[in-house]
């Protein structure tokens, strides 16, 4: 820590509480059963894609799945690049 920092209190927040909180959230998820979550995610991704493909052509490579695990809520984000849809009969 710089002299300035040590003179005027902690310039940086202590890191141990951050480590504890990260571990608690991570392990709460990992303990729910091995591989369960990643299975669920790949299933969700596959089924959601199927539904969308019924209506529009989707490039598998242009699908991005993101997950943010939180303490009480997790966020599953699926980004699908949708090509421009042309009205049939007007190529």
């Amino acid at each position: 820590m710089s002299l300035f920092g040590s003179l005027f209190g902690r310039a940086t927040k202590t890191s141990a509480p951050v480590a504890r909180d990260r571990l608690q959230i991570l392990l709460a998820h990992e303990r729910t059963g091995e591989g369960y979550e990643s299975d669920l995610l790949s299933k969700l991704q596959a089924e959601i894609l199927q539904v969308i493909k019924r209506h529009i052509p989707v490039d598998q490579e242009k699908v991005q799945v993101k997950l943010d695990r939180g303490n009480s809520v997790s966020m599953l984000e699926i980004d699908i690049e949708v090509p421009q849809i042309r009205t049939p009969g007007h190529p």
Binding site: T14, L23, R31
Partner: protein, 270 residues
């Protein structure tokens, strides 16, 4: 009746071998017959840490494959008569470690010794599973660091599901050994505190080994730290942990350097 202990962690480099050697020596010093068994096939190191590397003739795999008798593979420690080491093999195929073979050797060791301490390899593969399979007690070695705590959590899950005890409906006794702990850094909020790790892993604490230069010195010398510098903080912490393993109820503290006048005068001369 012999007690079979596994020293395990998931993560490598947290102090499994150091702890196996130190606890084995501390238990053997009380006159009990102790064997430390290296399960790290291909990467054996317990022999080196114990200072027995030049005396290895046969190893665990030789015994499993019937090329040598158990008594031929056991190396008696030169400092403590009641302490033996069973080395792992250096070069052979990991598949040579068979479940039946390990079961047979463990049975024979149970008959010969009061304590059988199995030094697990890192990871969660076969070697680690076989090392823990026959254990009655597990010592989970953990550093106050996120990746080590996470891996310990995984290992605790395995201890509760894939061991012989667990499969028979029983429960393996688990103990946490927190190593490389620095009380000053923990107090400043720079390191996970003991309470944090205990709350996360929720298994009983066997001991706290303070970070110390003596541990490296001991491995340089090829002696368990409990023998090379018995008065050092880590050695005292290991000795107390060994007494707890024997059932003594001792308050858990983090031993610190003894700084008496004499110690200061003779510092560095011992």
């Amino acid at each position: 009746m012999a007690k079979v202990l596994v020293v395990t962690s998931g993560k490598g480099g947290v102090g499994k071998t150091t702890s196996t050697a130190a606890l084995g020596a501390a238990l053997a010093q009380t006159g009990q017959n102790v064997v430390v068994v290296d399960f790290d096939v291909g990467l054996r190191n317990l022999d080196l840490v114990m200072g027995a590397e030049r005396r290895v003739v046969f190893d665990l795999i030789n015994v499993i494959q019937g090329d040598a008798k158990l008594s031929q593979a056991l190396i008696r420690d030169k400092r403590i008569e009641t302490l033996s080491i069973l080395p792992a093999s250096q070069t052979r195929d990991k598949d040579a470690l068979t479940a039946e073979g390990v079961a047979r050797v463990m049975q024979e060791l149970r008959e010969k010794f009061d304590w059988v301490i199995c030094d697990s390899p890192a990871g969660i593969e076969r070697g680690a599973q076989l090392a823990m399979y026959h254990a009655d007690h597990a010592i989970v070695v953990t550093n106050p660091e996120v990746s080590s705590v996470r891996d310990s959590d995984r290992i605790i899950g395995m201890l509760d599901s894939t061991t012989e005890k667990a499969k028979g409906g029983g429960k393996i006794e688990k103990h946490l050994l927190l190593t490389r702990y620095d009380p000053a850094r923990a107090a400043r909020g720079e390191m996970l505190r003991i309470e944090d790790v205990l709350e996360i892993l929720s298994i009983p604490l066997l001991g706290i080994i303070p970070e110390s230069e003596e541990v490296l010195r001991a491995s340089n010398l090829g002696a368990p730290v409990t023998l090379s510098s018995p008065d050092s903080p880590p050695a005292r912490a290991y000795a107390e942990a060994a007494r707890r393993l024997e059932g003594e109820k001792l308050e858990i503290t983090v031993p610190t350097e003894r700084k008496g006048l004499l110690a200061r005068l003779f510092k560095g001369k011992s």
